[in-house]
């Protein structure tokens, strides 16, 4: 067979090869994104995602969506503008959460014995599905950034509340009030994470009484819009084929 001849001899063979490529690319993409996104999220979200006693109604709600919308925006740009596939955000988040769960279960629990109910990851899938569906329905980066980005920030807290609410039940302990999450942080000793490192309930948002989570979520959503634009452009730029010369094609 010469180089100019086709590698397949029939349409059926071509379809089979194409599907094999699909699975190979999807598999590779999934794990590459898992690795990159995981490192990014650990470095930027870090302790906010690691520990139940960091998951407050102000900064966690604000920071986690902002630093996590990055890879979904970039991968969406590649998969949508190259393949019209509205799965970028979900693919990223599924990869991230798989990596997170492996890390939390094998390292945090299996290696250092922190209970899983103290070090579970944050939930991001509701926002990812909304981001993908909005891109598919609108077909517009601007619409996805504005509506999808805002939604990403807004649904983060409701998506996580069913998991963290049981840990916000109050308890009296040696004459002081704690939440169960605070008590976990106190009981399960972290030598390198002293109490003052926690960024909990800090800030000047004091005029909304106890209802600060929705305000924080709106603020987060607005910043997510900007971050979405930025990372969508990154994704588009990385998905270009300008780096490959015509002779190679």
């Amino acid at each position: 067979m010469s180089a100019s001849q086709s590698a397949v001899r029939s349409r059926a063979e071509a379809v089979a090869v194409s599907r094999t490529f699909d699975w190979m690319i999807l598999f590779t993409l999934f794990f590459v994104v898992l690795g990159g996104y995981h490192i990014h999220y650990m470095l930027t979200g870090g302790d906010w995602d690691f520990w139940a006693d960091w998951k407050d109604r102000r900064l966690w709600v604000t920071v986690a969506p902002i630093v996590s919308i990055t890879f979904p925006a970039a991968v969406q740009a590649c998969l949508w503008w190259r393949y019209r596939l509205p799965i970028g955000a979900t693919l990223c988040v599924l990869g991230l959460l798989l990596g997170e769960w492996i890390n939390r279960y094998l390292n945090f629990w299996g290696w250092t014995y922190f209970p899983v109910n103290f070090c579970f990851p944050s939930q991001l899938i509701p926002g990812a599905i909304m981001l993908d569906v909005i891109l598919m329905l609108g077909g517009s980066m601007t619409l996805t950034a504005v509506v999808g980005g805002l939604s990403w920030g807004l649904v983060f807290y409701p998506g996580n509340w069913p998991v963290i609410a049981p840990l916000h039940v109050p308890v009296e302990y040696n004459g002081m009030m704690f939440t169960l999450a605070d008590l976990q942080g106190y009981h399960y000793v972290r030598t390198g994470t002293p109490e003052y490192i926690r960024m909990v309930e800090k800030g000047t948002l004091r005029t909304f009484g106890k209802d600060v989570a929705p305000v924080s979520a709106f603020f987060s959503g607005f910043v997510c819009i900007i971050i979405y634009f930025l990372w969508h452009f990154f994704g588009k730029w990385f998905a270009k084929t300008d780096f490959i010369s015509d002779e190679d094609l």
Binding site: N117, P126, M130, M136, V155, V163, A165, P170
Partner: protein, 414 residues
């Protein structure tokens, strides 16, 4: 000859593989905390721990033990370390092998950060409950914001039993008694599994049809609009609505199940009580001090004045949790860790009782392998070559006085 060479090569390769494999199986537990690596001046010139007591050396799972004692916040706190205005009383253990059941400074529970005053002495206690079997090095520790962890002395404690027997029962303010070790774990797994399944379903919906090559060809040939069908959009809307409904339903159900919740608790605790101690009647002036590198010994020339009404003798020099004792004056009966105790490590040129009103200049030598073992000798490489420590004087009735020393240190290399 070639046959022999080949055989030797093969056997060498096999031996290498066996060695590498064996090395992989040799994974000793890292039980201590690198406390010796912490800069010597951090241990000598910040927090001085003394009167330490570990209530048990062996403890069964679920049983408690305590670390208690006192710490002096050194008045000559180094300029390169932030002041202990935001500090946290911690313990140095390899992860949660114990749970911290309680911690107190000056009788006040300190689950949060505290503000400490320079020059004051505080008593403390940390109550620990055994969780994971093994032999663990248990230290006191003070984390200081902008300064890092300042580790105290450590002692080996053995935990016996099985971790599966550990429970952590807590009664909430809503009247429910739960085991915090496993509480709400099913709930965590349930919601993560539900959402992951929904995410996978969305992926499967798109992955069950040709994905990359045919779609790329269609895009390149201007048929992008054909790639998203109206039924795709209907399925997308169903996923969107399903997500919103599930979010709303889950929020409502959760609020019904847990109507009483509170925000995370945080804050800085000020006004922690220190120990009111009478002013020392023994004054000490450091005339000079040197560290003799080859001899692993620190020598000080001290001028001591006894302004009290009873004769005193120097019994102990304590720095960086290493205790140098003059065996004629003081014998340790507290079970202090051997590696941190130089029972005969303090030599005084004239340690006869110093009478009231008397002033005497003495040569004091603190020598022990601990200078090297605990890397205190590295203080000669510190940015501010000074030493500090606690001197303890005793009268005939055993009454004790504590005095701080803080002075420049000159290394002697030859």
């Amino acid at each position: 000859m070639k046959l022999i060479k080949d055989k030797v090569a093969k056997l060498s390769f096999v031996a290498l593989l066996i060695t590498m494999t064996a090395a992989m199986f040799y994974t000793p537990t890292a039980s201590a905390h690198g406390e010796k690596s912490q800069a010597a001046f951090m241990r000598m010139r910040t927090i001085h721990w003394f009167d330490m007591n570990w209530s048990k050396e062996e403890v069964a799972i679920n049983d408690t033990m305590s670390i208690s004692g006192k710490f002096h916040v050194f008045a000559g706190w180094p300029e390169t370390v932030d002041k202990p205005e935001v500090s946290f009383l911690n313990v140095g253990i390899p992860g949660p092998v114990f749970i911290r059941a309680g911690s107190w400074i000056g009788g006040q529970l300190v689950p949060r950060s505290v503000s400490l005053e320079l020059g004051e002495t505080y008593d403390f206690k940390v109550l620990l409950r055994a969780r994971r079997p093994g032999e663990w090095h248990v230290h006191s520790m003070m984390n200081v914001e902008g300064g890092g962890p300042i580790i105290g002395p450590g002692k080996w404690v053995t935990i016996t039993g099985s971790m599966s027997e550990f429970t952590n029962p807590i009664t909430t303010l809503t009247g429910e008694t739960i085991d915090l070790e496993h509480y709400a774990l099913d709930n965590v797994y349930f919601w993560h599994a539900i959402w992951y399944a929904i995410g996978v379903a969305w992926m499967v919906f798109w992955a069950r049809r040709p994905m990359f090559i045919p779609r790329h060809i269609a895009m390149a040939s201007g048929k992008a609009d054909t790639l998203i069908s109206s039924s795709d959009k209907k399925v997308g809307v169903a996923f969107l609505l399903g997500t919103v409904l599930l979010l709303g339903g889950a929020m409502g159900a959760t609020n019904d199940k847990f109507p009483i919740t509170t925000p995370l608790q945080a804050g800085l605790m000020r006004g922690i009580k220190w120990i009111e101690t009478p002013a020392a009647t023994v004054s000490v002036k450091v005339e000079d001090a040197s560290y003799r590198v080859p001899g692993r010994a620190m020598q000080m020339t001290l001028t001591i004045t006894n302004n009290g009404d009873s004769a005193v003798r120097l019994g102990e020099f304590n720095t960086a949790s290493v205790r140098f004792l003059d065996a004629d004056v003081l014998e340790d009966e507290t079970g202090y860790p051997d590696d941190l105790l130089a029972e005969e490590g303090l030599t005084v040129s004239d340690n006869s009782p110093l009478a009231p009103g008397e002033t005497r200049t003495i040569e004091v030598t603190a020598s022990d392998a601990a200078w090297e073992v605990y890397r205190l000798a590295d203080l000669i490489y510190d940015p501010d070559s000074r030493f500090a420590g606690l001197l303890f004087f005793f009268d005939e009735e055993g009454n004790r006085q504590m005095t701080m020393v803080d002075a420049p240190l000159i290394p002697v290399f030859i």
